[in-house]
């Protein structure tokens, strides 16, 4: 009796599996459009060369000018200055709002600096 029950159960499962498989096979497939726009190609930009040592170097710390964040950058200058006294740490605030470019500052850093830390955020 037990054997017959088990056999019936197995057959039942098998039939259900076949029916389900047939159902899936009949489900229609659709071709739809991709909704995405076309991103531009990315132009790789080689990163700026690094310095091998901080000693005797000038490093700019640039504050992009978000409200009430200048304190953070002066503290950064003081802590780095205490830890690396052979390095000159210069804090500068970029002109205008954070939307504005500051070519004069970038030119100054290229001329006088050996590295730059850009502070972004608020």
């Amino acid at each position: 009796m037990k054997k017959r029950m088990s056999l019936r159960l197995v057959l039942g499962f098998a039939a259900a599996a076949v029916l389900a498989g047939a159902g899936r096979a009949q489900e229609p497939k659709f071709t739809v459009h991709n909704p995405l726009g076309q991103p531009p190609a990315i132009a790789r930009v080689p990163m700026a060369p690094r310095i091998d040592s901080l000693e005797g170097k000038t490093i700019y710390i640039v504050d992009i000018g978000f409200t009430d964040t200048h304190q953070f950058f002066t503290e950064m200058r003081d802590l780095l200055g205490a830890k690396y006294p052979e390095t000159e740490w210069v804090v500068r605030t970029k002109i205008g709002t954070y939307f504005d470019d500051d070519p004069a500052l970038w030119a100054e850093i290229k001329e006088k600096g050996h590295g730059m830390i850009m502070g972004i955020g608020h």
Binding site: K29, F30, H33, P35, Q38, R50, I51, T69, Q71, T97
Partner: protein
Amino acid sequence: MFEELVKTYTFKKGMPNQRFTFVPHPITGLPAATCRRFLQGNDPVTGKPVLDEIVAALTLPLSAEDSKKGFIERPTPRMVPPDTEENLHRLFLENQWTDGLPIVLPTEARVAEMLKGTSHAPDEPVGKMQPSSPHEAWNYDVERVAVNAVMAGARPEHLPVILALASTGVPSLYTSTTSFARMVVVNGPIRNELRMNAGIGALGPFNQANSVIGRAWTLMSINLSASGKAGETYMGSQGNNYNYNNLCMPENEEELPEGWKPFHVQLGYKPGESVVSTFNGWGFIHPDQSFGKPFHTQIPFWLKFVSPFSPAMLLLDPTIIHQLKEREGFDSKEQLIEWIHKNTKVSVGDWLDNFYSVQNFVHPVGRRGVEPFASWLKLPREEMIPQIASPDNIHILSVGGGTNLFWQAGDFGHVSSASVDKWR
């Protein structure tokens, strides 16, 4: 929280290995001791000491990968591989190609039908869109706009308005940590051709054209410019519920009294032209009012909350507009706008102390000599100055069905307008 944004952004700018150090957020207004604690602590992303990471970023040699040149191409296939309806719906949802609500799948037949709504070729370029100005802009053609229009539930006759919106290049999901809303206003004959609702419930979910045009703008922003990827191309801290439909409405031109121009005519378009306009802001409120007093003298009080850096917008029910004209003597929108500009004032002290946007945006601009801000910065604190910097930043729109003397005030400013007729 900014890690994904920073990494994806530098990748798109061509420096996938740019070096970053994170500190806890925010840093604005922190006392010196807290700044020091953050700087002497660990980077919350990497767990490494912040100062050591900064020095390592300056001094560790570059890898060959860091110095690479060349281009990374990212072509977008035109079609999605065939699959069942259920699987495709799941794919669109999981790929974040939707606004989270069900969409209409853009089958070839549906897109072909949608394209009958315009005379323009499917491969004609429409424009470029980007989540905000520093982000990359994506290109799209008429067909890609039609695909998103289908997804939004639009009909072919809605397509010229949706194409005009797309042609502005303005996304509805503008990324900023401050959760912007955007608004779309339709003017001209197309409003009535599409049976848009400018009357009772115009800003509610009661009209197909209002609903699907507004929604299509958000789907286009998500898919045609990659806006709206939370943590990457969308950083609004709270988000903005207006983004679902973008306050899409037609102006109630028929109820404007003589002398009061529809918005597109104010811009210089002809009354018979159909135009779509976009606006940017954060929200609307309805401060209380007194029916026993003239309305115009209450408007400066209504606008007290508007930031001096922002524009101001009034959504006025036609009943209020008629009262302003007939009982209070304002013969045009422009006359009322001038009056509002002259009479809505703030003290220099309040202006400087109480508005973050003045401190963050106006102050640096004024220091560079840009007027009128440069002069205002020199005034005594008790001096009164216009709260809205220019009359051009004050907008008045007619909307509503006249069931109440109702109005709303908001901080929305005009961003762009485009001809709908060009896209028929």
